[in-house]
């Protein structure tokens, strides 16, 4: 009767093959080693022993000798005051709030980089030696901490590990988490970073607004100077040419010439009538009017020439020149008006666009150490075993098959 309890040949082979994937390479169990050491090494180098040792070491470090870590958490939001026109009270307040969230999120992302920067680290810990002293490794955990005579990049790297700035895309708030080897370290770092965040937001905003205001005021000053210069030029022009307004004078001259011309027409008509009335064209009545016409023509020509010729008053050129000067004054006036308006708007906007760090949750002095890192580290060790077993097993098996 066949033994039905016996596994299949493949299964038996599989059972026998399993440990082989964890065997040590041949060079470690070479013949050069003495038999006693070979036996000891073979006993120790079993996968079960190695894994157990690794996990036990990890557990011993994580739960026994690992230093306590304390965590302080605060949450804040970067807010801008609502506009004064009262739109926030409307039903569209939700839609209007979305840009606020985005603005806060963007500011939070800037803060994330800024707070982890070397500049802030230097500002908070100007003396590297003091930083090393505060976070120096202590027995029995000599692995954790900042060793003496550490380099600047190492210090910055260590500093960055002590903080986490997480902007929240849903609410726009920023969660600031700091850690330290004592409750005070975590709390102080959190408070200092909160202060730096406030300074960053206020300083950046205020400096931008101050620059804008300064620029607007400069523009107003410039426009005022331009207006003064243009007015002075016009005044000088009028003073030089001895009139108040060339244009009105030209108009007066034109109307005077027009009057003379109309008078000339009347005299011409009268002369024509007299010529028809008298047979002799040289009659004294006719000659008198004809002389008047002649004299008037000469007078009109002279008046014209005097008003437009270069040797005369040259009113056309003066009118053009005066028109240019007047438009300069008008332009300078309009520029001054718009500059004053822009300056006023800038002043009002700078007040309206000021941002504030609103602390939603203040950090508190941690009362107990945070055990999270211990579990994370230990489970990470377990994860390494699981991943190593999974990936290593698969790859070795696949390589063997191929």
């Amino acid at each position: 009767m066949p033994d039905s309890n016996q596994p299949s040949s493949s299964l038996s082979a599989g059972l026998n093959k399993l440990p082989s994937s964890f065997r040590l390479p041949d060079f470690l169990v070479a013949d050069q080693l003495p038999p006693l050491w070979r036996e000891r090494l073979a006993r120790v180098a079993r996968p079960r022993v190695l894994i157990s040792t690794f996990l036990a070491t990890s557990a011993f470090y994580c739960f026994v000798i690992g230093r306590d870590r304390y965590t302080a958490v605060s949450e804040f939001v970067i807010q801008q005051p609502a506009p004064l026109d009262g739109t926030s009270a409307s039903v569209l307040a939700g839609a209007a709030a979305a840009p606020q969230v985005l603005t806060s999120l963007v500011d939070g992302q800037y803060l994330q980089v800024y707070l982890a920067s070397s500049d802030i680290k230097t500002r908070l810990f100007p003396d590297g030696k003091k930083l090393e002293l505060a976070y120096r490794p202590r027995l029995p955990d000599l692995w954790t901490g900042l060793s003496a005579n550490s380099s600047a990049p190492a210090q910055l790297d260590f500093y960055r590990k002590q903080l986490s700035v997480a902007p929240q895309p849903m609410s726009g708030s920023v969660i600031l988490t700091t850690s330290g080897f004592t409750p005070k370290q975590a709390f102080d770092l959190n408070s200092a970073l909160l202060k730096e965040s406030r300074r960053f937001v206020n300083e950046v905003n205020q400096s931008i607004n101050a620059e804008q205001n300064k620029f607007a005021r400069k523009e107003v000053q410039l426009a005022e100077l331009n207006l003064k210069a243009a007015s002075r030029k016009l005044e000088l022009f009028r003073k030089t040419n001895g009139n108040l307004s060339v244009e009105s004078e030209q108009a007066a001259t034109s109307s005077f010439i027009s009057g003379l011309e109309s008078q000339l027409v009347e005299l011409k008509v009268e002369e024509a009538a007299l010529r028809r009335q008298y047979r002799d064209p040289n009659a004294p009545e006719v000659s008198f009017v004809a002389d008047q016409v002649k004299e008037l023509k000469v007078q009109i020509r002279q008046e014209r020439e005097r008003s437009v010729s270069k040797n005369g008053r040259d009113l056309n050129t003066l009118v053009l020149e005066e028109a240019g000067l007047i438009s300069d004054v008008e332009f300078a006036t309009a520029t001054l008006q718009s500059a004053r308006l822009a300056s006023d708007n800038s002043r009002r906007d700078s007040q309206r666009q000021l941002k504030y760090v609103v602390v939603l949750s203040q950090a508190e002095l941690p009362a107990a150490p945070d055990p999270n890192w211990r579990w994370q580290a230990f489970l990470a060790s377990v994860g390494i075993i699981v991943v190593g077993w999974g990936v290593g097993g698969f790859i070795l098996n696949a390589m063997r098959k191929s």
């Binding site: 039905s4 309890n5 016996q6 596994p7 299949s8 493949s10 299964l11 038996s12 599989g14 059972l15 093959k17 399993l18 986490s164 997480a166 902007p167 929240q168 895309p169 849903m170 579990w375 994370q376 580290a377 230990f378 489970l379 990470a380 377990v382 994860g383 699981v386 991943v387 999974g390 990936v391 097993g393 698969f394 790859i395 098996n397 696949a398 098959k401 191929s402």
Partner: protein, 281 residues
């Protein structure tokens, strides 16, 4: 005291024997599958890789079309993850679940005329899950290693949480698989229906293509019923603790896993004989 020690020894011996049996079945099944493909044992790596690349292509393509041809990246999730890492994290969690469910629906047979008394359907299911997990872990680790090497961004904020999520998902997948074994035994139509449902509904609600925070608030209840979504999102969160996970709960995932596992084990224990008949005939 001696009795307790003896009991413990017996427990350890039985467990190690059972583990050896399961590993042997896994090796046997792997051998069998490797002979059916031209690429050998790498088949179990290449097949999910193809599907994963296809899904990444879909996601990137949709994003490209929606942005009017200007953006090839993954959208808002780019703030937190590379698109490949984002998809691979989802795939690592979802794919073993899907594979195990489909394999369970196909019946737990060794596809061998040989019979071994110690091998139970549960062992086969566990062996299959081990093979799937090993292949998927290798694939994910390879992709993550590749992306990490290219972008030089190493990030694993909560490895412990990642391990817990992974184990909970495996428990849930095994529980789900056992339930499906019984369900599939009754009616072939139900089997086909469930296969389609798993392939379509689960894939679109388990967060492979999207992040929960990208969805409008009123649409989230339509997907957050799915515990796989919770697992996928929590796994991503464990990689990057800044990743937002609204309406995602670890306790929901834990309860779903434990309840499904407990229920399936009770179901298995009380109906094992019927399953054996179904498998062995």
């Amino acid at each position: 005291m001696n009795e307790v020690v003896n009991l413990f020894k017996r427990f350890v011996t039985a467990m190690s024997r059972q583990i050896s049996t399961i590993l042997a079945i896994a090796a046997y099944e792997n051998d069998r599958r490797s002979t059916t493909s031209s690429v050998g044992a790498w088949e179990s790596l290449i097949s999910p890789l193809q599907i994963m690349l296809f899904f990444i292509g879909i996601r990137v393509g949709f994003r490209f079309l929606m942005s009017g041809g200007s953006n090839l990246a993954g959208g808002t999730t780019d703030l937190y993850f590379n698109i490949v890492i984002f998809m691979a994290a989802g795939f690592t969690i979802y794919f073993p679940f899907r594979q195990l469910a489909i394999q369970a629906l196909s019946g737990l047979k060794l596809r061998s005329p040989l019979y071994y008394r110690r091998i139970e359907p549960l062992d086969i299911l566990l062996a299959l899950s081990i093979n799937n997990i090993r292949a998927l872990l290798t694939l994910t680790l390879g992709l993550m290693g590749l992306i990490w090497a290219l972008t030089w961004e190493f990030r694993m904020d909560s490895p412990g949480l990642a391990l817990c999520i992974y184990l909970l998902t495996v428990f849930m997948a095994i529980g789900f698989g056992i339930c499906l074994v019984f369900l599939g035994k009754y009616n072939k139509f139900i089997t086909r229906l469930i296969k389609r449902i798993i392939n379509r509904i689960l894939i679109f609600t388990s967060g492979l293509f999207f992040a929960t925070f990208e969805l409008p608030e009123y649409t989230r209840p339509f997907v957050t019923w799915n515990p796989v979504l919770h697992a996928v999102e929590l796994f991503r969160y464990s990689l990057n603790n800044e990743y937002p996970i609204p309406d995602i709960s670890l306790s929901y995932l834990t309860w779903c896993s434990l309840i499904l596992m407990g229920f399936s084990l009770i179901l298995y224990r009380t109906n094992e004989s019927s399953l054996l008949e179904a498998v062995d005939d």
